[in-house]
Every structure is written in C-alpha cells, then in structure tokens.
Amino acid sequence: MAEQGMPPRVSPVRRRLLRAVRLLFTPLRPDDYLELVNPLWSTRELRGRVERVRPERGGAATVLIRPGFDWVGHRPGQYVRLGVLIDGVHHWRAYSLTSSPDRPDGLISVTPKRVDGGVVSPYLVERARPGEVVRLGEVEGTFTLPDRLERGLLFVTAGSGITPVMSMLRQLNRHGSITDVVHIHSARTADGVTFGDELAELDKRHDGFRLTVRVTGRDGRFTPDELDTVCPDWREREAYACGPGELLDALQAHWKCHGDPELLHRERFQPIVGGADAEGEGGTVHFAHRNLDADCPAGTPILVAGEEAGVEMPFGCRIGVCHTCVLRIRDGRIRDLRTNAVSEKHNEIVRTCVHGAEGPVTIEL
C-alpha cells in the first residue's frame, strides 16, 4: 500500500458530520468529493500548500508550507515526512523541520539541500512552486533539546546537518535562551554555508553564542581532537551532532573514550545501508508470483535488487521509516543493512528498503 500523510486535527463536529453521511457516498467518502473543491479539505491526511520557496546558500532552498489544518506542532530537531508529486509519481522523503515551532504566521518549513542524482531534493530546490500541494506525514525524531536547560549547549554540525539545529537555535532565540551555546559548523566553502547570514547575525547579537565555522575545503575536516581547543569545556555540555556518518562515528568514539556518551545526541539523515564495505555474502531474491529471480549483492536492499530486475516494487521513504515497501517473506535469511543483524524469516513482513538477502530469499510478490 502506498504511503499516506498523517490524519489532520479536525474538529469533532466536522468528523461526526462526515461520518454521518458516509453511507450515502460508499464506497467513496464525502472527502473524495470535497477534495475536488480543495485538496486541503481532506480529513484523511494532512496536506499543505507551498507558500514560498526561498533559495539558500550552498544549493539549498527553504520551502515554506501552510498546513491545511492546524499543524500538530513539533519539537525543534524533529523531522517530518514530506510527500511530493514529481512527474506523476508520489515520492516521500523525511526532512528536518527548520521552522521554529511557534511561528506567528503558522507556516512550517524544511530546507532540503540539492543532492546530485537525487529525485526529491533537486525538485524541491529547483522546480517546486508556490501553490503546490504537498502531503505531510508524521512528525518524528528524538533529536530534541531537553525540557530544561541545565547546562551549556554544544552543537557540532556539518553541511545540511545544520537544519535540525537551526530550528533549535530559532526557538532558543525566540525565548531569549541563547545564553551559553557553542556551535561548530563545517562547510566545504566559506560562502556556501546554509543559513550563514542568520548564524552570523546570531553570533553578533548574542554574547552567549559562540560560532566557529570550519571551511573544510580549505582547512580540512573537523576532528574531535580539536574540541579541546575550540570548546575546552565540551565534557560539561549537552552536545548535539548532525552531519555525515563518519563525523558522527568519530564523535561517538571520542565521547565514549573521553567524555560522557549520555551527553552526546546524534542525528543521522541516512541510515547506513550497505555501501562498498558491506558485510555479508548477499544472495538472490525469488519473487514468487512474478516467477523471477533477482541478484541481490551484499549491501543491496531487496527493494533495489527487485527494481533492477524490473519488478515494480512498492516503495516509500527508502530509509526504513515509512513502511510502504513492506512485503511478506516466505522464507530465507535477510540482513538488516543498518545494524547488520541477520535473521531467518518465515512468512514475515519486512521492510525491503533496509534489508538485503543473505542467501536465497523467497518473497510474496
């Protein structure tokens, strides 16, 4: 089944009214007719209308969206699944919300950075236009600030890892809570820093905000050893890190050896799915109803293996979030490509986007 957005907050009166007349429209619903007048009136899933698309530096763009019904709210650092229509096909991706939760105009925003060879981010950055309707999925994520700030904060971000932290900074700023924040941000070039102006502005206005921008194209990558010079009291701070996997891994190792790992919070945009140094042997996937075999090398998700063999596979977010790609495995051993855990399946439902085959696997499709 294809993925859908989250149910919107609708007044109980409206819900009851729609339910009361539902039988007159069976097998459709009153919503099916109301949507013809305005797609935002759907009470089945939350949709939003794109208000503005604002180009940002570094090949990113901020997409400002007005939700059709009351926005459920989010905590800074959380992400939302966004459903966009591109060339007739619905695509879903998860993006960190970059807006502060209590924006007076009620808009929410995400700031995708153009990924070469991607589908959704180039679309949002280059082709999305005001007036377009998008689907809004669940708000998720545990990469959020503590309820009470008891110690100083340390942000370590790189590239588009700035996005969840931007939402945090904006909220802190609104509440006048930028009292003791150290932010180390890495970008490849000096003028390609997404939100660069806003960060500089915060740095200028707040004594409690200390920004270090690392230009990796010139000075090389930031390593955890440098923390002692840039932020000597890093051990005492509540730390938030978001960026490429290598950076996050290095930081975690550093906190484990020299600090308190409990104080380090990390957010990964991409699960570690396979790659060149994938473990395991791979295998073959047999599609029972199609009577077709697909080669599934080590580190390749079953979803990709199927697609490459020409099978029309259900797919959604492709990162193990949305459960659109689930299929029943008749039998076989599979590997969770994020954790490398191997398990044996008999008639179980599995997310094909984050699992690879380990030997012969038979799938009900």
């Binding site: 089944m1 294809a2 993925e3 429209f25 097998p27 060339d87 096909v89």
Partner: protein, 425 residues
C-alpha cells in the same frame, strides 16, 4: 493424413515464440518508462469527471418527481456508475495506476461501486482469469460456470435454459459477478475451506448492505425530504376551498390544517422516495447491461480460441503472450466508446498487458497489430454489433447439444471436436 496445426501459433518455432515474447516485453517496458504526469492527469481527469457526473445525477434526482429530472438524473447516474466500474475501478484494481504511489488511487486501497468486493475480484479476475485465460476447466470466466459458450464444453440439459438466465445475468450482472467470485464449483467439490467461504460471504453481504442502503434507502430518503420541503414551500395550503370551509364550520381549523399538511407531506415524500428508488434501480440495470455486453465481447466472439489444459503444459512466456492474443477480441469504436467501456474495446492489448494504464492501449494497438502481421497471427476485432451478435448466437446455439467451433480468422483453423469431448463420449 497429417492433421492441420490446431493453434494459430502452432506454426511458430520455440525461437520465434521467444522473440515474440521479447517484442511484447519491449512494448511494455517502453510504456512503463514513459509513464508520467500526462498519464496521471488522465486518470485524475476521469475520476473528477465521474464525481462531477455523480453529483449532478444525485442533485437532479432531488427533483425525481419530475419526469424530465428523473430521466436526466438516472442517465447521469448510469453514466457515472459505468465510468466508475469500467475505466476507473476495473483498471485501478488491475494495479494499472499503482506506479503513481498514490494511496487513494491504488489497487490495495480501492473499492468500487458494485456488488463484488475488491479483494475477491482481484483473486478471481486478476489472478485466475488473467493467468489461465481461455483454458477450459481452468478459466472460470469461460461461461462463468453457468453457461456453455464453447462447443468443447460438455453439454448438459440445464444449458437449455441458458438463453433465459443469460438475460437475468445481463440485468443483474454485478450480483452474478459477486457470486461468481465465491467459486461455487470449488465449494461444491469441497475444495474451498469453509473459513474462506465464510470470509467471502461476509465480504459480499457487507458490500450488498452498503450498496442497498445507499441506492435504495439513503438517497431515496434524501429525495423524499427534498420533495416534502419543496411541496410545503410551494403549496402552503393543501386543503381545497370546500374542505377549508368545512373545517372552519366544525371549529377545527388548526387540527384540519395540520392533518392536511401531514397527508400532503406523506404523499410527496412517498412520491420522491419511490421515484429515486426506481431511478437508482434503473441506473444499476443500465450499468449491468453495458458491463455484461462489453465483457462478453472480450472472449466469447467467434474469433477467439480456447485451449485444453494439455495444450498449455510447460507454456513459455512467448506462448503465454500468444495465447492471450488469440484468446481475446477487440471492439472498434470512437474514443468516447473506449472511455465508456474502460478501454476493454482493446481487450487484446489489455490481456497482453493487464497492468498497463488503459489510456495507453490505443497508442500501442498499431504495434500489436504489426507484430500479428509479421508473425502470421490473427488480430481479433470487430464492431460492437457484430461481436455482440456472435456472442449471443453462441449462447443460444450452445444451449443445445453439439455445435462445432466456428471458423476462426487466420490461416490456422481450429479442429472440430476435441480430446475432452471424445474422452467424455
């Protein structure tokens, strides 16, 4: 004496069949690659059209006590139901639009405005019929288990009545299809687990209840209320002058008025209810007649071939395509005709590529025809009148014992008589 080859594709070698398979695969691949915004606009447009016509029909029927509004409303409703069943429901349930990844136009979530459940239909039609197309004893759509439409099927005295129950089937086709999904034969042979039978019955009765509540209770009731409202607003004093005077004289002016209002409302309400009830009934019958006609023309005209189970043993992909090709028959017509028939006028293309969006069939038809020409295969097609004529002639003729396969197009003729008949004799 050497018997003539039985199949229209018996002259093709294994290599040629493999090549044929590759050519058909290539057409499928090409269209799959091209699918995009234009296709989405098409199906969204048809869905929008259906909903607009349905709304118009229901609105017109609020005044169903007027003959003109009744006829217009019934017409709209019939057209809406036909569009919904044929071009939308049938094709969405085939998964033709699943590539859009749209949760509301998807084979896994769609339900249609007819008696059979989407789930049962996807099994009996998408799987059984489209896999075992025209294989005698396997494809339950050959005569729908109640009719003899191929001379190779063994005759039974019950078939004498088939011209009559075919008429009944035409009128109540949606219910016939719903019961057909149950697979009565398998139940009778005890092959279908009771649990599954119960599951199906629950499904059908649920759909039946919803359909009946909507068409024969809900909307008639809405019309009744509308009739009463209009009647009371336009005619505030339902009593005649004489009646009015008599009530005044007897000193029951208020009571008399209330009684008169009530009795007028009752008449108007009942009138509105009945008129919409019959409008819905008529629209359903029109839809059933149309669906029956189009669907019976898909496989039962004289031109199509059927197959014994022996003939398809170890069938290759190429041979599967060839069987689909000669087992189906097209109907010629205008674009409007194809829209209203769910593009099943392109039954041949549909059977070759059941999961291809129906709007593409007209585009690929020339390519399919070209392949037929190059491989010496028949491309079955004809106008609706001829196809329908030959279908009903077959149904009447085969009600009686005997009957020979009709001459088929192409150089390769079917052999009269068959192993099954001989084995039965």
């Amino acid at each position: 004496m050497q018997s003539p080859p039985k199949h229209p594709f018996a002259h093709l070698s294994a290599d040629q069949l493999a090549e044929l398979g590759r050519e058909f695969d290539a057409i499928h691949e090409q269209v799959r690659y091209e699918l995009g915004d234009r296709d989405r606009q098409y199906i969204k447009g048809v869905i929008r059209l259906h909903r607009q016509i349905a709304v118009a029909g229901r609105a017109l029927l609020l005044g169903s006590r007027s003959k003109t509004l009744w006829a217009a409303g019934t017409g709209c409703l019939a057209i809406a139901k036909i569009l919904e069943n044929m071009e939308i429901g049938h094709n969405v349930l085939h998964g033709q639009w699943d590539w859009m990844n749209d949760p509301y136009i998807h084979s896994s979530t769609w339900d249609w405005d007819t008696a059979s459940t989407a789930e049962a239909w996807k099994h009996s039609h998408n799987y059984i019929h489209h896999t075992y197309t025209n294989i005698r004893g396997k494809d339950k759509d050959l005569g729908y288990e109640i009719m003899r439409i191929d001379p190779n099927q063994k005759w039974h005295p019950a078939y004498l009545a088939q011209p009559f129950y075919n008429l009944l089937l035409m009128a109540f086709f949606e219910w016939g299809v719903a019961v057909h999904d149950l697979d009565v034969e398998a139940i009778r042979r005890g092959e279908k687990p009771l649990k599954d039978v119960w599951h199906d019955i629950k499904g059908i009765s649920g759909k039946a209840r919803d359909q009946i509540v909507k068409d024969y209770l809900g909307w008639p009731l809405v019309s009744a209320l509308a009739s009463v409202a209009v009647g009371r607003l336009s005619n505030r004093e339902p009593r005649s002058a004489k009646r009015l005077l008599a009530d005044r004289v007897r000193g029951r002016g208020w009571l008399g008025a209330a009684k008169a209002q009530l009795s007028a409302a009752r008449t108007e309400g009942a009138g509105g209810f009945a008129a919409t009830f019959w409008a819905d009934f008529t629209a359903n019958i029109i839809r059933n007649l149309w669906a029956h006609s189009i669907i019976f023309c898909g496989h039962f005209p004289d031109q199509t071939y059927t197959f014994s189970q022996d003939e398809v043993r170890d069938e290759t992909r190429g041979a599967w395509y060839a069987r689909q090709l000669v087992g189906a028959a097209n109907i010629t017509g205008s674009p409007l005709f194809h829209l209203m028939s769910g593009n099943l006028g392109y039954q041949v293309e549909h059977h070759l590529f059941p999961d291809m969006p129906s709007s593409r069939y007209a585009e690929i038809a020339p390519k399919v025809k070209d392949i037929c020409l190059r491989y010496g295969l028949p491309y079955n097609t004809g106008p609706l009148s001829r196809q329908l004529g030959s279908v009903h002639r077959t149904i009447i003729r085969l009600a009686f014992p005997g009957g020979a396969p009709r001459p088929k197009p192409g150089p390769y003729q079917g052999e009269p008589g068959d192993d099954e008949v001989r084995a039965a004799a």
